[in-house]
């Protein structure tokens, strides 16, 4: 028997999107496969690695631990929505400048996490940055350049504000 589908409306990166999804559809799968926004990655499917982090009404959440139907009507920002048109956001530019990514698979999760972090705290200390990214796994960089990139992003944001 086919599963019952639910119609949901999400505001993704400022655009109203509709999807018909079964109740068990994960938000990560909905974004990736129903809406074609494949920038959000899935690294563990159990909420540990942080690759799937998106912003839900501005707050970072694990989209692999969120059912799509539970966020009907809410606003979501994915990595595709961080740039301002063709101009990458300060966080994105800082990651490029500081070599804060290698394979790039965990990167969208870090970018969303850091975007929220710096919005809350535009001038974080070393400890606050470490704490802020300590829920995301990266297997390539050893984190050193990610930490550097967060501080650099804060600098860029301060310069440009």
């Amino acid at each position: 028997m086919p599963e019952q589908a639910h119609e949901i409306t999400l505001v993704v990166n400022g655009t109203v999107r509709r999807a018909e999804v079964p109740g068990r559809r994960l938000l990560s799968d909905c974004l990736r496969h129903d809406l074609g926004l494949t920038g959000t990655h899935v690294g563990c499917e159990h909420g540990v690695c942080g690759c799937c982090t998106v912003l839900l009404d501005g707050e970072p959440v694990r989209s692999c631990l969120t059912f799509a139907v539970t966020v009907d009507g809410r606003e979501i920002t994915t990595v595709e929505g961080l740039a301002d048109g063709d101009r990458m956001s300060p966080v994105q530019r800082a990651f490029a400048e500081c070599h804060g990514l290698q394979c790039g698979f965990c990167t969208p999760g870090f970018l969303c996490t850091v975007t929220a972090l710096l919005r809350e705290n535009p001038a974080p200390t070393e400890e606050e940055v470490l704490e802020g990214v300590s829920g995301n796994l990266c297997r390539c960089t050893g984190y050193q350049n990610i930490l550097k990139a967060v501080h650099r992003a804060a600098e860029i944001m301060a310069e440009e504000s």
């Binding site: 920038g39 159990h46 740039a83 394979c103 470490l130 796994l137 990266c138 350049n145």
Partner: protein
């Protein structure tokens, strides 16, 4: 304007797409593809009595279910044993789907194809497999002594046994030398299992074009060219009808060099059979139980040495846990046994390994590929010698170093490429001097004593390694300059985050004298370059980097010849700057490379203004010779290959200062220093990034990561909740210094850098903890509870 970009910390060209969500990883492709999922064995060792799929047949969206009995011809045979070796007398590989027997938890038994992954997994859950349980064989020592075989025709579970012996200068074997040495020590070391664990798992997506009878396969692999050949062979397709592309790959670290995975042949086969696109993306639990692990070894060491700590004889006997199958041969234990001597001149050396089957996930290379175990063994030995003699640990190492004047240095062993293990260059004393300065080795005792007065325990450790990089047999490069002045570079090997698009573009831009933004690089796409080996063994920059440089030199030579004709100059007087060929010292006498590309391809038809300049009525050509001269080809392009006589040997030394908590036994790394020598640097930013990432994986292996199997062969920690990969909070800041000893073996003078960071970390941390605690550390990883237990036992 300078176009010398080799050696500059150029920002990566990959980054804009990866930072904006425009990367294309395997599961981002094929939005309309059917999904495959697998029923995998829940038992470590069992016979399959029956498979009942009836309950699954009513699942909505189900398309097909396959078991081993459905597989045709060559697909029903065991998967290839990729790297045979005479010592691997009992190599065994798995069938794509289990045939009658399963040998580890996670082995694929049934493939289901359905409309989406949710539905495919629904069907998997309803398939009943009736198993008859067999006694599982777990643990390498247990397996070596077990009466229960993992494979019935492999007595004693020994897949391979290999001895290499390098006698002393006077012809005595290591055993004899050790017997007669002034000092001898014997001890045992243990290294646990870990795994590559890229954040993107494996994945395969296949499209069959029935009209064209051709197959396109995307795989998250470290070798698209070899996957292509394996898929063509397994599916009985002509090679030109198969193309394989590695899209953006979310990390590899070794595990994705294994091929063809069961899924890599089954998914394309299903796509052909069904006439539909089919995709499989591995989930994290699947990656834990059905890809590959590495590292586990037990080592029995005997060493004889003199009063200065010089090693007169070293004997190492290794039990290597190979898991259930040996698809990648015995590369890992060969590397352990041959890289064990490191930067040292050993008086004599005997190494013996037995590669043992167990009912666990197969063991294939993970970044470092046997070297972390080798270095753990050698460096723990050096520390024990120092402790025995009461000498400084760096003095014992210095007493054993191969000296800069001794290169090329023949270790007398046969390396993983089947060739003599001869070090090409290095400067180990200088490396040690730099490291001691960087970490403050000589002032550490003061620091330690000061901390002790505050009740704190500090320790310092050091580890040295030599890494054979850039193994053959070859890689190639193709370079084409088109009439718009763009330079298109391709090479067959793949990328998994190493920044090849950037590093190879730097090489091409430097060699050709063009701006970096004119160069584009494609890797791992068999449509662009069909001959390649793959990305492993820290070989990509050495192999493809040099091949691309050589191809560029061909293009450059041709460009200069054509430009010389056009400018009526001597090619030897020409140079290329910023994409323009000009007479040295006379910038006005110039022709852009774009125009040279036009002139290189004589045309009949003019489709645009540029092309019109190359037609038969455009002048320029001589009636005395053909439009394309003998021995030449149209177009401004070149292809060349780099095939080294042997590997090039990078080296490095790490040191760490750790603090152990007197109460909780928590281990904290306070400082971590690296001196690294990979010859000439193409892009220091990228090299440093590779070191940082390697050290982080090393810290994981030293302090946190282990595969916990119970006696039933169940992997108890097959999730990121329980397998502890380091977060930012666990990885120290890495201080680096570079020594550049160019390799004399290749045109660019480079050595590999990809694996280096991970190699000595376990040895370094063990040494530092030992120094802090005064307790011998002989097994890794070491957790706070392990250390707490050791304190209790001492």
């Amino acid at each position: 304007m300078t176009t010398r970009l080799f050696g500059e910390p150029v920002q990566r060209r990959e980054d804009p797409r990866l930072l904006t969500g425009r990367g294309r990883y395997l599961d981002d492709l094929g939005p309309d593809a059917l999904a495959a999922a697998f029923v995998r064995s829940p038992h470590a060792h069992a016979l399959i009595r029956d498979i009942d799929v009836s309950a699954a047949l009513d699942v909505d969206g189900l398309v097909a279910i396959y078991t081993w009995e459905d597989l045709p011809d060559r697909l029903a045979e065991p998967l290839p044993l990729l790297i045979p070796h005479p010592a691997l007398t009992h190599g065994r590989t798995a069938h794509p789907l289990a045939r009658e027997r399963v040998r580890h938890v996670g082995e694929p038994v049934v493939m289901v194809v359905a409309r989406d992954r949710y539905l495919a997994e629904d069907a998997c859950a309803l398939i009943r497999v009736d198993y008859e349980l067999l006694k599982p064989v777990v643990g390498v020592e247990e397996a070596a002594q077990s009466a229960q075989p993992v494979h019935d025709d492999v007595p004693g579970n020994v897949g391979a046994h290999l001895v290499q012996e390098v006698p002393s200068a006077d012809g005595r074997g290591a055993r004899e030398v050790i017997e007669g040495a002034p000092h001898t020590l014997a001890f045992r070391l243990d290294v646990e299992r870990s795994a590559s664990m890229p954040l993107e798992g494996r994945g395969v997506y296949a499209r069959w074009d029935a009209d064209d009878a051709s197959l396109r396969v995307y795989s998250s692999t470290q070798t698209s060219t070899s996957v292509r050949m394996a898929v063509a062979a397994k599916l009985g397709l002509p090679l030109p009808k198969v193309e394989v592309i590695a899209p953006d790959v979310g990390g590899g670290f070794g595990v994705k060099i294994v091929h063809p995975w069961p899924e890599e042949v089954l998914v394309p086969w299903a796509a052909m059979l069904l006439g539909r696109e089919v995709k499989w993306a591995e989930d994290r639990r699947e990656h834990f139980v059905s890809s590959a692990h590495e590292r586990a070894q037990v080592q029995f060491v005997r060493v004889g040495f003199d009063d200065e700590g010089r090693v007169l004889g070293l004997e190492v006997n290794i039990l290597h846990d190979h898991g259930a199958y040996t698809p990648y041969g015995i590369i890992v234990p060969i590397i352990t046994s041959t890289q064990l001597p490191g930067p040292y001149r050993l008086g004599s050396y005997r190494v013996e390994f037995s590669s043992i089957y167990t009912n666990t996930v197969q063991v294939t290379p993970y970044r470092g590929a046997g070297r972390p175990q080798a270095v753990f063994c050698m460096e723990r030995t050096m520390d024990r010698i120092a402790a025995h003699l009461g000498l400084d640990r760096t003095a014992v190492r210095a007493a054993n170093f191969i000296q800069p004047g001794e290169f090329p240095y023949d270790q007398g062993l046969i390396f993983q490429d089947g060739r003599p293990l001869i070090y090409d260059s290095g400067d180990y004393p200088e490396s040690l001097r730099m490291l001691k300065e960087l970490i403050g080795w000589d002032s550490f005792p003061g620091l330690k004593a000061e901390a002790a007065r505050e009740g704190r325990r500090l320790g310092i450790g050091i580890g040295c390694y030599v890494e054979g990089t850039g193994v053959g047999p070859y890689e190639g490069g193709h370079v084409q300059v088109t009439s718009d002045g763009r330079v298109h570079v391709s090479t067959g090997l793949t990328s998994q985050g190493q920044g090849h698009e950037t590093a190879f573009a730097q090489i091409a831009a430097t060699e050709l004298g063009v701006p970096l933004d004119r160069v584009s690089v494609v890797t791992g796409d068999t449509r662009r370059f069909g001959y390649a080996v793959g990305t492993f063994a820290s070989r990509a920059a050495v192999m493809s980097g040099n091949a691309i440089a050589l191809a560029c030199r061909k293009v450059r030579e041709k460009a200069l010849r054509i430009a010389a004709d056009a400018l009526e100059a001597d090619p030897r007087d020409l140079e290329i700057t910023d994409g323009v060929v000009h007479v040295t010292g006379t910038p006005a006498a110039a022709v852009p490379l774009a125009t040279v590309a036009v002139l290189a391809n004589p045309l009949r038809y003019a489709f645009d203004a540029e092309a019109a300049r190359a037609t038969q009525f455009a002048g320029a050509s001589s009636f005395d010779r053909p439009p394309v001269q003998e021995g030449q080809e149209p177009g401004l392009e070149g292809r060349d290959y780099y095939s080294p006589i042997r590997s090039t040997f990078a080296s490095g030394m790490h040191a760490a200062i750790v603090e152990t908590d007197p109460l909780t036994a928590e281990i904290r790394i306070l400082r971590y220093a690296v001196v690294h020598d990979c010859g000439n640097l193409i892009n220091p930013m990228i090299v440093e990034g590779q070191i940082h990432g390697g050290v982080a994986q090393g810290v994981g292996g030293a302090l946190y990561e282990r595969m916990v199997y119970d006696g039933h062969g169940q992997l108890l920690n097959a999730s990121f909740m329980d397998f502890l990969m380091p977060y930012a909070t666990e990885v120290p800041h890495v201080e680096t210094a570079h020594l550049q000893t160019p390799s004399p073996l290749n045109p660019l003078g480079i050595k590999g850098a990809g694996e280096a960071g991970v190699i000595p970390v376990s040895a370094v941390i063990a040494a530092a903890v030992e120094d802090a605690e005064g307790i011998p550390i002989d097994r890794m990883p070491i957790s706070p509870s392990d250390l707490f237990g050791l304190r209790g036992a001492s």
